[in-house]
Amino acid sequence: MTKQMVEVPPKGGFSFDLCRRNAMLAKKNEGAKAPSFRKTGTTIVGLIFQDGVILGADTRATEGPIVADKNCEKIHYIAPNIYCCGAGTAADTEAVTDMVSSQLQLHRYHTGRESRVVTALTLLKRHLFNYQGHVQAALVLGGVDVTGPHLHTIYPHGSTDTLPFATMGSGSLAAMSVFEDKFKEGLTRDEGIKLVTEAICAGIFNDLGSGSNVDVCVITKGDKEYLRNHLMPNLRTYVSEKGYTFPKKTEVLLMKITPLKETEEISEARDDMEE
C-alpha cells in the first residue's frame, strides 16, 4: 500500500532504550555522571490585562552554574495570536513549541480560521503527558482568540492551569510575590507592561538562574507586539574606554579602532519571529 502520513514520532525520535543502560553505567562508575542538559533556569510570567495578554521572560540560559546564553529568546511563537514562554530544558521547550506551531499552521489551513489558545493548550499537554514528564518543558501559554484573552500554565507532566496571572521557572516565587502584591483586574497596557517588567526584574535580581534582559510580548485582539529586550538592566561594556595603551617605549604612529560588532537599534517588533 502507499506510504501514509501517520502521526507517530519517526524512528530516531525519543527512544527510551538507553535509559536502563545509562542508569546502570551511573551506578557502576561512581564518578561518571551523565552530561547535564542546558536548563533555562528562568523567570517567565504572564498576565491578562483589559485588552488582552502580556507575556514576559528573562533572557538567561544556564548550564549548571555557567551562563550558556546571555540573551536567549524564551518567548516562542505558536500562532500569529498565540505566544508561549518556556522554562526548563531549552531544547525541550523549543522543540515542543515548534512542533505545536507547525501543527497549528496545518490546522489553520484546514479550517480557514484563526487558531484558538485551547487548541494549542491541548496539543501541548497531550504531547507532554504522552512523554510522562521526560520532556521537561514548563510553559506559560497566552493569546487572544475569538473567545477572548486566555492565559494558561502547563507543567512538564501535562497538567494545566488557567489563570489571570501566572509565573513559572526558578524565579517564579520572586515574580509571583510582585504579582500577588500589585495585580488587579482591568490593568491598562502600560500598567501591565510595567508590572510584568517589575516581576521579571524581581526574578533577574533575586534568582541565580535568571538574569540579563527582559523580553515582553503584548497580544491584543488582532495585533501583537514583541518587545525584544524591552529592558536591559544588565548592560555590559566590553571595551575599556581608554583604548589600548602601548608599552612606554613604543612610538605610536597611527591608531585605528574598528568595531568588530556593529550594534543595531531594533526599534520595532521583530517580524522574522514568525516565518
Binding site: M1, T2, K3, M5, D98, M99, S102, Y109, E275
Partner: protein, 236 residues
C-alpha cells in the same frame, strides 16, 4: 489486441509503451472544468470556472483555489476529492520542510514533492492515479513561477497554461495574447478573457475564481467577489 487489453492494470505497460490508466486519468482531467494560469513580470494569476451542478448549491462554501503556503497557491482541473487529498499532503510537506530548514519552501521543491506523491500512485499496487492536473503558482527568491503537474507525476514550468475542457482553444488564445513583460493586472484581464472564450452562459463573480500573487508582498490570495466584479467591469 492493442492497448485495451493492458488497460486493466496500472502497473502493466502496454505494448506501445504507455500506461493506459494514466491516459485515462488525463482524460478525466480533460473533462474537468477549465482552469488556467499566467505568469506575469511581477506576479502570477491562476483562475478557474466554478460551475456548480445546481443553483441550489451554496457557492460560498466551494473554494477551488487553495493556498498551500503563504506564498504558493494551487488550482486544479479534474476530480475535486483527489485535489483535496493532494492539497492536504502538499501542505504537510511544505510545513515539514519549513520545520526542518526554517525557510519557506521554494516553489520548485514543493512541486517536486507533490509530483513525487502523484508518481507513487502510478507505481503501487491497488491504487489508481490521481484524476487531477494541478497548476501551482508561487513567488519565491527566483521570482514568480507557474508549474503544471500531471497525474503521471511529470511537471513543467509554464509562462501560461490551461487545462480542462476547453484546453486547446484556451491555449491558442493564450499563445496569441501572452507577452513576456505583462503586468499582473493585464494578466488578470487576459485570464478573464480566456475563460470567457469557452464559457457557457454569463460570466460573473459567482462562477469564476481567481487567485493572485504579486511581487510586492509575495502573499497568495483568492480575490473576493467584489474584486472580481471590478476586473470584469474593466474587461467589458
Amino acid at each position: 489486441m492493442g492497448d485495451s487489453q493492458y488497460s486493466f492494470s496500472l502497473t502493466t505497460f502496454s505494448p506501445s509503451g504507455k500506461l493506459v490508466q494514466i491516459e485515462h486519468a488525463l482524460t478525466a482531467v480533460g473533462s474537468g472544468q477549465t482552469s488556467l494560469g499566467i505568469k506575469a513580470a511581477n506576479g502570477v494569476v491562476i483562475a478557474t470556472e466554478k460551475k456548480l451542478p445546481s443553483i441550489l448549491v451554496d457557492e460560498t462554501s466551494v473554494q477551488k483555489i487553495q493556498c498551500l503556503t503563504p506564498n504558493i497557491g494551487v488550482v486544479y482541473s479534474g476530480m475535486g476529492p483527489d485535489f483535496r487529498v493532494l492539497v492536504r499532503k502538499s501542505r504537510k510537506q511544505a510545513e515539514q520542510y519549513h520545520r526542518l530548514y526554517k525557510e519557506p519552501i521554494p516553489v520548485t521543491q514543493l512541486v517536486r514533492e507533490t509530483a513525487a506523491v502523484m508518481q507513487e500512485f502510478t507505481q503501487s499496487g491497488g491504487v489508481r492515479p490521481f484524476g487531477v492536473s494541478l497548476l501551482v503558482a508561487g513567488y519565491d527568491d527566483n521570482g514568480p513561477q507557474l508549474y503544471q503537474v500531471d497525474p503521471s507525476g511529470s511537471y513543467f514550468s509554464w509562462k501560461a497554461s490551461a487545462m480542462g475542457k476547453n484546453v486547446s482553444n484556451a491555449k491558442t488564445f493564450l499563445e496569441k495574447r501572452y507577452t513576456d513583460d505583462m503586468e499582473l493586472d493585464d494578466a488578470v484581464h487576459t485570464a478573464i478573457l480566456t475563460l470567457k472564450e469557452g464559457f457557457e452562459g454569463q460570466i460573473s463573480a459567482k462562477n469564476i475564481e481567481i487567485g493572485i500573487i504579486n511581487a510586492v508582498d509575495r502573499k497568495f490570495r483568492v480575490l473576493t467577489p467584489a474584486e472580481i466584479d471590478d476586473f470584469l467591469a474593466e474587461v467589458e
